[in-house]
């Protein structure tokens, strides 16, 4: 049992190779996550600069369960604040994106500038000398709840906490170099958005992107059409706190000669079919336009951001939890300013790999649904088993079939949540 009689949730192994299932279903844990993680000392992804290029541009987004507006102010700075009026709490901005000079709450027309400061209160001085706000009322005390905002490589981040470390330190060196590789060396442009509402806990998705083990097993399409194979070169790199992971795979010429090894890996599963052919394989033949050999690179940043290159697709994935059992996976699909029309057409072809209808990503939605269903409807207690790739130290690897980076996520999660270590090993 991982929940004792007082209902405490604890880790029974100090290497996090067991994860109590209750963290995916417990409503109290979910509430605490909102406070300790999303409003805690982390940097939350908000949006990409190219989505708010002009003064007055804004985007509505989410930080955990908190609805937030990101703005581009007159002095060129970016701001983020809660989308809830300082007066009576009404949601102020209803559009997902747009351009505005100011924001007025429709209820009593309290008005805020692009930085979220209160600039107007109708009838503050009363009407015909009567009423109005009391003399002690100061507009400066009643702005919208603001986040601290920092940027790196075009990504805009915000935090509600004064305790968050400097952004670049929080991201770590692998994140910085990968953001440079994917989003800085070529200025990106948004080609569209995709939204997938996955009926599973938001942390299941964090596990999924730190789990190259499943990549060539669940995703038969990748294996059948040469996008991913268990024999590929690759590995993972972690930041100092092991909360952020970069995993990557490289398809080399020798993978064509590895069919026998692949067939062996699938022995007994009845799933491997190397003779599968497509009627129109154009989408699998799009050349990798970065030309650095990486076939898939997934950068997963705690708690809710993934910057992913899957074959020739580039996307920012953002997790928006909607309760313990549901998460919206929001994708910003990118092309680059330097892309030729042909390259943009190619990215429309390869879009079929990812998103809610993606030959690869649609399966993650189903897998996570099944995990949540399985966890929901079993005897309480119990835990995940994370031993693939080895137990013990949480370290970088030069192989792909591993769950070590998932354990890295949990080690940071346990600390930031202040959940107790327990079990025979921890007390020994």
């Amino acid at each position: 049992m991982n929940q004792d009689r007082k209902g405490r949730i604890e880790w029974t192994r100090s290497d996090f190779s067991r994860v109590p299932y209750a963290v995916f279903t417990d409503p109290e844990i979910y509430q605490q996550e909102n406070e300790k993680i999303f409003r805690g000392p982390v940097w939350n992804y908000l949006c990409h600069e190219s989505e708010v290029p002009q003064i007055g541009d804004f985007v509505s987004t989410w930080v955990g369960e908190t609805r937030v507006v990101v703005t581009h102010a007159r002095d060129g700075s970016f701001h983020a604040f809660e989308n809830s009026c300082a007066h009576r709490g009404a949601q102020i901005v209803t559009a997902v994106r747009g351009n505005a000079q100011r924001f007025s709450c429709p209820y009593h027309l309290w008005t805020y500038n692009l930085s979220g400061e209160l600039t107007g209160v109708p009838m503050a001085a009363g009407v015909k000398g009567k009423g109005g706000m009391p003399p002690c009322f100061e507009k400066k005390d009643h702005g919208l709840a603001r986040m601290r905002v920092e940027r790196y490589g075009g990504l805009i981040f915000g935090t509600f906490s004064d305790e968050a470390p400097p952004l670049q330190q929080f991201l770590g060196p692998h994140s910085l170099s990968q953001i440079d590789r994917l989003l800085v060396q070529r200025p990106p442009k948004v080609l569209g958005y995709l939204r997938q509402r996955i009926p599973g806990n938001w942390k299941l998705y964090n596990e999924n992107v730190r789990d190259p083990y499943h990549g060539s097993l669940l995703h038969q399409f990748q294996v059948s059409f040469g996008l991913q194979q268990p024999t590929m070169k690759g590995g993972i790199k972690l930041d100092a706190e092991r909360k952020n992971t970069w995993n990557h795979s490289i398809l080399s010429a020798e993978d064509k000669d590895n069919q026998a090894i692949v067939a062996q890996a699938y022995e007994g599963t009845g799933k491997y079919n190397p003779n599968m052919r497509m009627a129109d394989p154009a989408l699998t033949q799009v050349p990798l336009d970065l030309g650095d050999g990486y076939k898939t690179t997934i950068l997963s940043i705690f708690p809710s951001l993934v910057v992913a290159q899957v074959d020739n697709t580039y996307a920012i994935r953002h997790l928006r939890p909607k309760g313990p059992d549901l998460v919206e996976l929001h994708l910003t699909y990118l092309g680059f300013e330097s892309d030729t029309p042909e390259m943009t057409r190619d990215k429309m072809l390869t879009a079929n790999f990812i998103g809610p209808a993606g030959y690869i990503s649609l399966e993650d939605g189903e897998a996570l649904r099944l995990v949540q269903q399985g966890i929901r409807h079993r005897h309480p207690g119990g835990s995940e088993v994370l031993e693939m790739g080895g137990i013990g130290p949480i370290e970088d690897t030069d192989y792909l079939s591993q769950e070590i980076s998932i354990r890295g996520f949990w080690s940071f999660y346990q600390r930031i949540m202040g959940l107790p270590m327990g079990g025979p090993e921890a007390s020994a």
Binding site: V96, R97, Y193, Y333, L362, E366
Partner: protein
């Protein structure tokens, strides 16, 4: 419309019959017959989110830009390549309108709702969308030149595996 009333009526009836057949093939997973509704020489099938369309962004949720890609989309289902939720889907097409009909070409529009029903018989609304299509009359009946399914419920529940 300039065409005689009888032509308009024939086009409308043809479009009605076409959508009924189209939805029935998909509902019953007669995928090969669904593919046969597309013009083999030149066709396009796209599922688009209303969000992207309103922003003038052309990214599809699902996009097949050739007859081969249309075939592949359903072959991946029929051959068991993809793992997806196997709910029973039922499509309800309504408000069929013919926007223009000239010669062999018909431009038509219709509303679509799709219900999903689980293995244990629990049904829910899966999708709210609109068909916008260009059909071509040929020797083999109406064929799809272009089918756009514009989705209002673009916060897709779990996944979109089976075409709409």
């Amino acid at each position: 419309m300039n065409s005689p009333p009888s032509d308009t009526l024939v086009h409308w009836l043809s479009a009605h019959q076409f959508f009924a057949t189209y939805a029935d093939h998909l509902d019953h997973e007669r995928f090969a017959q669904w593919v046969d509704l597309f013009d083999p020489t030149d066709c396009r099938y796209e599922v688009l989110s209303r969000e992207n369309r309103d922003l003038g962004l052309s990214l599809p949720i699902m996009g097949c830009f050739s007859h081969g890609m249309v075939q592949d989309r359903v072959a991946m289902l029929a051959k068991g390549v993809l793992t997806y939720r196997r709910d029973k889907l039922l499509r309800q097409v309504s408000n069929v309108q013919v926007l223009s009909g000239s010669g062999a070409s018909i431009k038509a529009r219709a509303n679509l709702v799709v219900y999903q029903s689980s293995e244990e018989g629990v049904s829910s609304l899966y999708m709210v969308a609109r068909y916008e299509c260009e059909l071509l009359e040929g020797a083999q009946g109406l064929k799809i030149r272009h089918m756009a399914v514009v989705v209002d419920s673009f916060g897709i529940d779990t996944m979109l595996a089976v075409p709409l």
